[in-house]
Amino acid sequence: MKIEKGIIAVFMLAAALVSTYVYARTEIQNKGSDTLVNVAQAWAEAYQKIKPDVAVAVSGGGSGTGIASLINGTVDIANASRKMKDKEIRLAEKHGHSPVEHIVGFDALAVFIHSANPVTGLSIPQLKEIYGREGKITRWTDLGIEVPGCQDQQIVVVSRQNNSGTYAYFRKAVLGKKGKFRQGTLDMHGSKDVVDLVEKTPCAIGYSGLAYATDHIKMACIQDGDACVSPSVQTASSNDYPIARPLLMYTSGAPAGEVKEYLDWVLSDAGQCIISDKGYAPVRKIACP
């Protein structure tokens, strides 16, 4: 048994060595925000066609993951859907990296509800009562509505795991700087998991990047006085939608060489058309084919 394991380990090591020799081309490691992972993947694939000798390896995991990897020096570009915290910047500098921020797009944070839910608009204070630690709204009936198919009308509050940039941004934008989430939220591991769960659960409310919306789910517009602003690429670019945020890429030091070329391409019209195609707002007005 032990010997077998040893043999397997030797083989795996050999395979790993061989594969590094086979891919003797430039590889850019790109990791982080779950919100950005689909776009980053699309960028990587499109870039592969333009420059076949550069491979961009994309993985998700959350903004915290990407930033942690940048601090630990295992990635070239970290994707983040929130700004780096002061503490993280200090830690990065301690590890010999000085993070440089690049805005690559904007994202509207959509509030999702089940398609059978009669709610149309929710205000920020209402969201705070639902998500906040001292929040008073725990049942849909507290909002004066009744959700069909939801036993006892208890709101199932869906959130994200605490290293997620979406989580951090939502807390700041909705609960305030010192705000805390309530206990007992279901902390999903990805934006897609949030949408999947809310889609299947009549009692649920969740939040995620607009790009993860499907046809089977409803998005609440955000009530601001009399107006109710729906999340969309347009309202995010025009700054009308109150919970929209910049999408960021971090590099260690000013980008150089292949990494710089890649980032320049991401910000070019070609790159920006890809991000707008994926449901996010581009950094500037562009005309896409």
Partner: protein, 303 residues
């Protein structure tokens, strides 16, 4: 004189090989101790900074708020996580004890020949199912089933994880419990039968009391397993920091928290060290449980 002393010196090649193999076996023998000590030193080294500088023991053990990624006011309370682990493990034991005790009694006392061998192989097979597969079962089969049967909004709950973990621990407990039953000398059974006891009376009044320590050890090892299990619990509990009030609440376990968050923290940050502190806590708990189990089982031999 010189000649004869040379004759006595048998340090030929065989002698050296013998010595070498002895040394090798000795090193292998103590390697477990080296590894255990090494692991403990490693996790302590990673977590000690948090314990000394940041940790407030009162908050750590008695606060239910776990929000380590908050920049301004991070909260490191593991009470809700401990409650999550304990509730899932508790329910798992409620499921596993009757099952494993029943099948251990059947395999050890009733089944004979082929049936017995067949059952033993099946139990071992059940123990070999990877935990991620159990997690899958919890996620895709149990989750909709619980929603359907109990009319609750979410099926990833204490009930789900407890049932899964119960099924996972049962085969291990069965194996150990069966060994304990086998360790009871046959003369006990023969004596009881000679007194006219029925089979049930033999088992209930003679065999079980005699094997009591071994059975208790089996249960304790089951608890240890439950505390340490990660993957299935991560997938089936719903990942919600919560003090559960019913089996239909979602919770989060200590192990699941480490698994979900460790890869995503910067090495050396407070959050990272706090997770290692949870690791130290888990290590100590499982160490105590296993040590107790060992002492309890040993007790039966001395008595």
């Amino acid at each position: 004189m010189e000649q004869s002393s040379l004759d006595f010196d048998r340090r030929n090649l065989d002698w050296y090989i013998d010595r070498f193999v002895q040394l090798l076996v000795f090193i292998s023998g103590i390697s477990a101790i080296i590894f255990i000590v090494g692991i403990f030193v490693f996790i302590t080294k990673e977590g000690i900074g948090f314990i000394l500088d940041t940790m407030d023991p009162g908050e750590f053990f008695f606060s239910q708020y776990w929000e380590p990624s908050d920049e301004d006011a991070p909260e490191y309370g593991i009470l809700a996580l401990v409650a999550g682990t304990a509730s899932v493990t508790g329910l798992a034991l409620l499921v596993a004890i009757p099952f494993s005790l029943g099948s251990a009694i059947f395999i050890g006392e009733f089944a004979t020949g082929r049936t017995r061998e067949f059952l033993k192989i099946l139990v071992e097979l059940l123990a070999a199912i990877p935990s991620v597969v159990w997690g899958f079962i919890g996620l895709t089969i149990m989750n909709p089933l619980i929603i359907e049967l109990f009319n609750v909004p979410v099926g990833l709950t204490v009930l789900n994880a407890g049932l899964i973990l119960g099924l996972m621990t049962a085969p291990i407990m069965t194996s150990i419990a069966e060994d304990a039953l086998k360790a009871v000398p046959d003369r006990y059974r023969e004596a009881a039968e000679a007194m006219g006891a029925t089979r049930w009376q033999v088992i209930f009044k003679v065999v079980l009391p005699a094997a009591k320590n071994g059975l208790l050890g089996a249960v304790l090892l089951g608890i240890g397993r439950g505390f340490g299990e990660t993957m299935a619990v991560l997938m089936a509990t719903g990942h919600s920091v919560n003090l559960p009030t019913s089996v239909f609440d979602s919770v989060r376990a200590l192990t699941a928290t480490i698994a979900a968050e460790l890869g995503e923290t910067a090495v050396g940050s407070d959050h990272y060290q706090a997770l290692f502190t949870i690791g130290i806590f888990l290590f100590i708990i499982t160490f105590i449980i296993n040590l107790t189990a060992d002492l309890v089982v040993r007790g039966v031999r001395r008595g």
